[in-house]
Symmetry: C3
Subunit: 343 residues, 3 copies
């Protein structure tokens, strides 16, 4: 991209990430790149020893490392305990997102009854309804809607075209990406002779602090009580959380996961992409679900879980799939063989 | 949430749900909660006998029941035939959504050629294009787009940031949640030596009465004729309906289902979450698909269907998955054993 | 729909699709329909021989065919080499989408620093930020957001309520449907003792020419370098492409596919709906993945691949699913039988 990032000296970066500096403190860097493609004006990092061979050949102007690496071409080094965490910190120094406007765009429609803190930004064509609270430092980008009585915690960032329904509570330092909907009605209907009768969803959604939610994700409001997402949870794109789901602190949910109603997920869990979890079940803390796992009952022990079959060439797969369908029959034939041999 | 709901007397509620009232007709209630957490100012309900033990200990001010329950703490009771349906009706009495504005917000961009019925609400920054019809009592919330010549039936509700393309017909009493798109192009392309050639999608989408559609759902317009959703269908979040799909009346589709092009689904079917259905197939009435089922061919008999494997600890799963891939080989070995024993 | 399409003569259509005309050159046609339902004022086509029986009974005013068909009722015929491609071309002649406004709607918020080409349309309530480039003939429909420094190539079409983040490059003749988000942050976090630490996503998204993207799709920006979609790729609704995914030219991705981070897909691949692909793998050119396939490792040979089990009646399925979980045990029992027989 054509955007010119500003430059930082090696000394400035060392200070930000609390690193030991080896080399020229005044060396100027204007970006971050992988070892393979970094240029002399860019910083790089080595966080995984299996990429160590790339170090000797990198053209990076400086590298973040866990320990000194003796090399002709590596004059500037920043030594830290955890290079991956240092990379995360440094990424913020080179971020390219336009800075907050710190004003209310004249085209934004903000209710007189909304309460806005200090240094709040509200973008073009946003709609902020009655009794909304935007705490200090909130940034609400263009086209985002926030319904009545909802509260957005301090320093939270809502990207464009987000939809927050009424009576939603979002904590501090949260990030919500474009197209995401928080507070749509849970899927609750009573069957009657005249068809489905809607059950109004009277609960809200409560999201803790330091939560990030990707784009086009849907989080339903609760039926009677709130849907709950605890502090430090990270959620990727196109995740579907049904009514009254509860997600424990620091759980990570990758793209396209779906969790049905009233299910409780523990803390520090991780889910690969496309995981599907049944409703009304419980998953304890520290459970790790591989991508595309289908979970139909509660998980009571921490661990790693998976479901599904391996991909095959379609000709082989057709045979395999038929054999799977016949398994009950083949098991009976094994049992019969065992009986014959036992005779 | 901080919002103060208004109060209703037990007698008022009894009248609304046609219940036999036992207790104090003037008893005042201001909300609805489960038996476990309801307070003296809240109404609760028992719709499933397995929760009957909670009755004796509930603090609810009143409870909706199928039959009288003799208990010290349960002075106020509303006796009805179907408590779950009564709960659905009562939920509407305590709904918290801000009431309709009944006006056209000055920032809405409404074509002079659009025709709006009585008591229509159009929210801030909505865009209503030429020759759109909004029938009586329609409520279109902020940021929603309705394309040329589309018709929204009476008393329908479109939540914020919905996108309705041109030439779409939506019936009466429908609800469409935020971020949903109706009428995007079906995925139709002709392969050529120069790549994919787009086939313009000339059909529309026809949605019946009393249909609810969740958030971030996509319903494509038809290729030549319309995509059709019949009366009383309920659709959850992030559902994908491809071009020329037809959904029969009162079918229920849970979150994240996907139905490929030209497939016809019967009436009164139900789908759990994450069901995937192939294109160009037919599913008869009264078919129930468990969550995450993959349907690759037509279903000709009503019933309950499922696919997929059970979740296991990842170490076990790895072995299972390999064995599944080898099934053809193991079947051959069983056959050989049978031959040997037959000798 | 009530919209009256304009009429074209058979001669005009023959010229557009380079067809041999049999019949009345002045015959007037005002629409396109399948053989079964076309009326005397509509054009139809036969692209698949298995529908040939419908020809003798069609009421279509004219039919596009690969070769002459001798029939009483088929006076007007357009003979072409590839009727399906001719159908795609003709579909554009009868498209019903309102034509481009060719102006900037007064409610659009367009930065003074944006650069707009000739014949650009910007719809109501769009937001175009600083240094955006909209090349000649771009059409941006209502409510769409384009972030700073992003470039939209000539003649591209963005439907309503699309969200394009900052520093995104989209090529020429692209189409992006409503609710789609391009450039949301990749899901990158470093684990620390204090929880997940966000890694700023410094890359962008680069989309080639002639790319179509469906509704409510999410395409994340790259971590350090760009996420890349090459020329002629077609992507359906609700697809999730994670950071640094690379999609080769002319690959087709059906609805609800998900591709995890840093995976590279070759050219001319096709994916059925709901395919899930793991991160950090490579798939070569000309790979075809059946719907709902889960891909966990690289694919090095062109071909057709599949995974998953067949749907069954739920009673059978329960038995099958248990047997699959026990496969390791049944394999052991087969081995034991073999040993016994070998004795």
């Amino acid at each position: 991209m054509a955007f010119k990032r500003s430059s930082l000296s090696l000394a400035q970066i060392a200070q930000e990430i609390d690193a030991e500096l080896i080399g020229d403190p005044d060396y100027s860097l204007n970006g971050l790149a992988s070892l393979e493609i970094a240029t002399a004006s860019q910083l790089s990092f080595l966080s995984d020893k299996k990429y160590q061979s790339a170090l000797a050949e990198t053209c990076a102007g400086a590298v973040i490392l866990a320990q000194f690496f003796d090399s002709e071409n590596l004059k500037n080094q920043l030594i830290v305990e955890n290079p991956y965490v240092a990379y995360a910190k440094v990424s913020a120094l080179f971020a390219t997102r336009p800075s907050a406007s710190l004003n209310i765009h004249p085209t934004a429609v903000v209710s007189k009854r909304a309460r806005l803190g200090k240094n709040v930004s509200v973008g073009a064509n946003c709609v902020i309804e009655d009794d909304v609270v935007l705490e200090d430092g909130c940034e609400v980008l263009a086209g985002t809607f926030i319904g009545a009585r909802s509260v957005i915690g301090g320093a939270s960032l809502l990207y464009p075209n987000v939809t927050i329904y009424h009576d939603i509570k979002i904590g501090q330092n949260c990030i919500i990406h474009g197209g995401t909907v928080v507070g749509s009605d849970g899927f609750g209907f009573a069957p009657t002779d005249d068809g489905w009768l809607k059950i109004q969803q009277l609960g809200g959604v409560r999201i803790g602090n330091n939560v990030e939610i990707g784009s086009n994700t849907s989080i339903d409001r609760g039926a009677l009580t709130d849907t709950i997402i605890e502090d430090g949870v990270i959620i990727d794109n196109q995740v579907h959380l049904a009514h009254n789901v509860k997600i424990g602190a620091r759980t990570a949910i990758a793209g396209r996961c779906a969790i049905a109603g009233s299910t409780t997920i523990g803390a520090r869990c991780t889910m690969g992409g496309c995981v599907a979890i049944n409703g009304h079940i419980e998953i304890v803390d520290d459970v790790h679900l591989n991508g595309a796992t289908v979970v139909t009952k509660s998980i009571k022990e921490p661990g790693v879980y998976s479901s599904g079959t391996l991909m095959q060439d379609v000709k082989q797969w057709r045979k395999t799939a038929v054999r799977v369908s016949q398994l009950e029959e083949w098991v009976a034939r094994i049992k019969k063989l065992e009986e014959q041999l036992a005779d």
